[in-house]
Symmetry: D2
Subunit: 346 residues, 4 copies
């Protein structure tokens, strides 16, 4: 059994990690931490676990957790992960970090968007945790930077086109929509039921969202040239799910069927990417509850633009599920282990 | 008092017309028709009207309704309005049609998107009912083609930029999201609660939506040249509201404040268009329940694109409210009469 | 014009008061206060008011507000209203308090459920503000205790039966369900979108809710004897609306039609109470957005119990709307002035 | 492997059965039928299954399905199951019927509430499929009548009290609330998103709901005497979940802790019933997605009534999950096999 700790386990990402880890056949969860809920049984905070576990939140140092676990998930805010990761790595543990702290390769870029970095030397060590892009690197990594939710949907949505050189890299516009769980469980007016329900708005408009450098870093790597995208996130009145609608100018004169073929070939061996048949497009309700990324593509002949729709569950493929996929790679489990959940629809 | 009939009054648009008309100080509703509910009191179909009216649905011919009303709203599907409008016009009545039948000036364009037109001669007579664009024409019109909900949000959102020539007309992409009431009250699986709730999807992807020619017609008129846009509608799990996120390449080197000024000047005398201050953007929850269109604009400096957010209540400014605004113009009422509703938030 | 102040105007109740007061033809809002938002324009906190008002929140003492207003609404938490009401009354102003501070006639009862009372002498002066019960008293009052939201629905639902003596007063069970706006706008985990959406639960189970003494006080007055009820509130995943399902043993051997008649006669002159026809029952969606209370009644012949369904908008008839109804009475306006809103459905 | 057929598999219950059966380690789904979707791949109707199965809907007779399957689930409307069950039983197959057709022991009672019964002789053969009540009978049965969703929540909620004789059997009132999936996937106005969302209403008020005889039959068996309950169902604007709030007069002078103990002892060996600790009560969001029934109990000392809150997922413990629990019993699998799903919250 893999002894697993979750550091900072009381938020929605921690909850989702635990929901999967407790049923993972090769995992024993040996430590969960939370400052706020130190000493409180997990079932008191999340009654969904009633009858399933006796775990209690600890307020423990990295050193204490390192004694209990071989693999540690960090479900902490950015800026905090970088302060605890070094201790785990020094103790020879594997670390899967769900914050933004190790996702950017350039420290300058990190500091432009987030602020001072406390462990810049680790940036070169971290594997960017999209298995569909970096599977072999992840297998050998001690530190995985688990990707952001928006980037996961956008990078998977654009990878085949960029690899094939079929899209004008200066033309990419991403209009993304996310469920509310992406905002976390901190009480704030903007996340109250009455503020969100029956509403819909954009936020971080005008190229302000911190996931932009992460997306551009990976898109540029795929394309082999620098890329600037326009990215506008919106807040959907649903618990979960991201749908990214991606626009770009098509380079070759191709057809929707050829486009679909390109995507099918690109992802033919991937267990968690599903390509919709021509004319069909994903609904977040078909992926929420699962680790799938569903992608539909077509062409607007009138404007010669390609349109890509990419849907994930922001808490699963966009966070906890992908993190476990990475753990499976690191630990030599089959990549799908513990990730067989199917959509919750209806 | 203006004697008003609503032809085809039992759907959500009819309901919204009646909710406003029954409280309009200059209006007496004299006839409401419905085949399905002929003989049924309005309060039986919509208990919201209990205690407020004794109106009963009639199954009446245009001739019968023409005897009872001087202004007639047609809340019928496209293809049906064109068969009843001529009778009302021949009887000297004013007609405000909420279908698509008289929105396109070119009969060929109508027939390309919708099918055979039964009254093409009326197309030249119809005023396109966006008061902010065609106020004086509407005042003198006998037949008003009330705009589509998506086009209202998009045309109002782009008019200042196109008039000023500040946007590359080949670069426009519209990513629009609408509440479910836009799909009407016909029972169909796709509109069931469980199919929509906790879901989100695009539809008519790839330049398939019938509102495209209507938008392009009006955008071209504003710009003085042909325009092709990319338009992708999405279904939001809310009852009401449209948010259109519009992208385009900016021509001059300007600032978000100058952009906001342009919009403020353009709409300074308009009672129903509100421009957000720089850095603020609309939420559908701030317009739903009202006839307002709220618009926020900014610039993505990294990509030199302008981003426009335009929000309306699809049933009010996108349908019934704008229709009454047009009726007020035709009948010489102050344009705001009966349209003082404020947002329902929360 | 009546000069009106709203003391503590930044929550959902304050918002709803202002949405109605700004359109009330006999009212000028002269002062709105908020500590948190002192100096902030109302439109910055609630963009729904954009273009409609220049009001700015003040951090003002009761004395300052008393100089500006003749009628003051207190939209404050319980325990706070009692500390400011005396100053307004001493200045000869009319006070409509939306907290619980002046609803209970017995100070001991107040202190049992809420804690120490700072102005017990005012309890005898306060009129309990359900116009359908105390219209004439309210007209002459200087201090109105605006009822709780649950009590409004329950008291209006039971009044005809209790007055007629048709119900066993020991048998009353109230199962009530409320939308989330009843919990206010304070950020707390329990009110977050993800905690409420797709959920449903009871709270304050076992006779714990503070609205119980208020209901029992008024039900006892109606019945002419002491009453103990079982009351269980539940949290509905909607923004607004209360539906109370009320059960009791029927005394006479009567029919649903006779029962409906009893209710119709009882409320025949009431502008804001609507009785459903036999076999029909209210939906909160038919009252939300309006000041109506919709009531449906029937008999379960198998168990000889009466079942009463009573629906209101918790922010309107359950708070701000009823407060304005009371203001209209106090100020000699027609009771319906400014309260003509119709349900927002859909 | 158990060869399993699902007869009438295209509705929400069929969908939920398939979501569980396809992952059940001892099951091979060999036939799914649907008249409407005959010849259509399952993934076309429900894209959630993309990549997981090649099943296609058949329009097949019971005889044809009987050749393919050893256990058959009937997910058909009442009145239809009774016409196909005999053929399966005659062929020696095991039948688990999710309709109401075999739930009532008395044919007269069935015909009073539902209409003519076509196979009354089978009523005596059918096991009522609540394993917590009839585990041993179910193991040996060929025909299981899978209980209604409301009855499951109510019977499990009342069983310990009735067995112990702690509740006045004449005093029971059930106020139940269900999500919309309970209404099925047939298109009808009342199930449209806009009709349900932001609404809440009771239906079948006054002892009209067809689940009443089923509940009374089982409650009477538990109590050893006839029982008449008052039952009022309500429609919650959520996809899934039932919460039943149950009231009754308490016989002994006991405490909430003793009450909780009674429940804990009663259900101590049950894998799918969880008793909340004293003072805690279930939320549907903690059971939805799982086969659990969560129960909380307390006493209203002021009125000497017991209040029981019982929550299930109407599609799982209230339908498909319980059906599979029954299949596991019949087939000798461990009762929890294939039912390890945990709540979907958030």
């Amino acid at each position: 059994m893999i002894k697993v700790g979750v550091y900072g386990a009381s938020g929605y990402t921690g909850l989702e990690l635990l929901k999967h880890l407790l049923f993972h056949p090769a995992v024993a969860v040996t430590a969960i931490t939370s400052r706020r809920y130190a000493g409180v049984p997990l079932t008191d905070v999340y009654p969904v676990f009633q009858g399933l576990t006796d775990l209690t939140f600890m307020n423990a140092s990295p050193a204490e957790v390192a004694r209990l676990a071989d693999v540690v998930f960090l479900a902490l805010p950015h800026g905090v992960s970088m302060t605890v990761a070094p201790a785990f790595l020094a103790a020879g543990k594997k670390v899967i970090d769900l914050s933004a702290d190790f996702r950017l390769r350039e420290v300058a870029e990190y500091e432009r968007w987030y602020g001072k970095h406390a462990a810049p030397v680790l940036l070169a060590q971290a594997a960017y945790g999209i298995p569909e892009l970096y599977r072999e690197t992840i297998r050998k990594a001690s530190l995985v930077a688990n990707p952001g939710c928006y980037p996961t949907s956008v990078i998977l949505g654009l990878a085949p086109l960029l690899k094939a050189g079929w899209i004008d890299t200066a033309s990419i516009i991403v209009d993304a929509k996310s469920g509310v769980s992406g905002a976390g469980r901190e009480p704030q007016v903007a996340s109250l039921f009455c503020e969100v329900n029956e509403g819909f708005k954009a936020y971080n408009v005008g190229g302000q969202h911190r996931h932009i450098p992460e997306m551009e870093q990976e898109l540029a790597t795929l394309a082999g040239c620098e890329i600037r995208i326009s990215f506008t996130p919106h807040l959907l009145p649903v618990n979960r799910g991201i749908l990214s609608t991606i626009y770009g100018s098509l380079r070759p004169d191709t057809t929707p069927d050829e486009l679909t073929d390109l995507y099918r070939r690109h992802y033919q061996d991937e267990p968690f990417v599903r390509i919709c048949k021509p004319g069909a497009f994903p609904n977040i309700s078909s992926v929420c509850g699962s680790n799938f990324c569903d992608i539909g593509v077509t062409i607007d002949k009138r404007t010669k633009r390609v349109i890509i729709l990419s849907a994930i569950d922001n808490l699963i493929k966009g966070a906890a599920g992908q993190a476990i996929q990475n753990m499976n790679l690191i630990c030599g489990c089959s990549e799908e282990t513990g990730l067989t959940g199917i959509s919750r629809f209806p």
